[in-house]
Amino acid sequence: MIPFLTVFIKSVILILVLTLIVAYMVYLERKFLGWVQNRYGPNRAGPFGIFQSIADAVKLILKEEVFPEKRDRILYFIAPVITAVSAFIPFSLIPIGSKPVIADINTSLLFVLVIAGFSTYGIVLGGVSSGSKYPLFGGLRSAAQFLSFEIPFLLSITAVILQAETFSLKKIIESQHIPYIFPQFAGFLVFFLAGLADTGRIPFDLPEAESELVGGYNTEYSGIKFAWFFLGEYAHLILISSLIVVLYLGGGNAYFIPLPSFLVFLIKIAFVIFIFYWIRTSLPRVRFDQLMKFSWKFLIPLSFLNLIVVSIFKVVL
């Protein structure tokens, strides 16, 4: 009974902390965008607008929901829940610091991959079930993007597993005496780009391209359901950046600097997320055929090459 209770309390704390981090990520992103584009960003709710995200959340809960007439009732209802839930669950397995907070299991990397893959299902179902054409196109684009970028994603992870010889994220961190970004820079590059496409952020934000598809898959969603898509998207961004940190940047290993491991982990994640924001402010959106060609003609051969080089070093030499 006691261990059950501890896990329960830890879970509640983790969910609250994650939600708070997402809220302030959104605020900081908007402030950063404002600073880059030479304007103020949010500055009305509270000093410097620090309560902006909380005000947004309250508004979205209290707001009237508009259900489009032509929706598919069940799928329309569960799609945002799938996206948000599948983006949150992997955090029970990610080692924050040196070991996972809630579930320390041997095959954690496979679990994370499987569950994180579900968030695309939520987006595709949300697009298709709305019964309107812009969401439909958003959903189709999201599916095609998933088909293109999932393979290089998987192959670059295979190269990491090959070097660490384990599925456990904790042991992958322990095995990094030098961060894997140095021996596997090509793999890191592929994983970074595929992760960028997986989160659906700006050069690859085709599923929700505002200027072409109004809002893409979430056009017909309002109120808390829209908030769920939004939350899921940002939680997925944290998830991808923490995977980058765990697999390539040495997780909570501080190497020479004497700092507690969870602090090192958070600093590294903040750095990766900052790079995601920086890319967002700097690059335009790619066209869809460019995106698919880029993945199938460049990323897949590159990740194969990376895998072969790593395996030659591992097995033959």
């Binding site: 059950f4 896990v7 329960f8 879970s11 983790l14 969910i15 809960i61 209290l62 707001k63 009237e64 929901e65 259900f67 489009p68 032509k70 209802f77 829940v81 948000a84 839930v85 949150f88 669950i89 029970s92 397995l93 809630i102 579930a103 320390d104 299991i105 298709v128 709305s130 019964g131 309107s132 054409k133 812009y134 969401p135 439909l136 095609a144 088909l147 999932e150 393979i151 192959l155 295979t158 190269a159 597993i161 090959l162 010889e165 109004v214 017909e220 109120g223 808390i224 359901k225 769920w228 055929d289 199938w296 003609k297 897949i300 051969p301 194969f304 895998l307 072969i308 395996s311 097995v315």
Partner: protein
């Protein structure tokens, strides 16, 4: 705490997710107006009757290729868990396996599966 912790977290997240989706039914107001529930088409009355008409699925061959490469990925993952134990023989076998798939990839590109008009 291994899988128990995972399932506790899973159920808790699922519960919160579903609870908050139902919450606006109690809290939010509800006003009905004409045209409000129509599909969104930039304020116009929708041109198309149904969004779920037939559309051209161009990349079904690509989807097939995706499935093949994903299954290959599963085999590679199992090998990657113990590369030194399987030794040179395992390495050669997996190389042959990858090369065959790579030839398939070249064939796919030559057929123009990802070409746009």
């Amino acid at each position: 705490m291994g899988y128990t912790g995972f399932f506790v977290f899973f159920l808790l997240v699922l519960f919160i997710g579903l609870l908050l989706v139902v919450l606006p039914k109690i809290l939010a107001p509800k006003v009905s107006e004409e045209y409000k529930l129509d599909p969104y088409e930039c304020g116009e009355i929708p041109v198309t009757e149904e969004a779920w008409s037939r559309y051209n699925v161009r990349f079904y061959l690509l989807a097939l290729a995706f499935v093949i490469f994903e299954v290959e990925g599963v085999f590679l993952l199992l090998w990657a868990l113990n590369p030194r134990g399987l030794g040179i023989a395992g390495f050669i076998e997996i190389t042959i396996f990858v090369v065959i798939l790579f030839l398939g990839w070249i064939y796919m590109l030559a057929k123009g599966v990802i070409k746009w008009e």
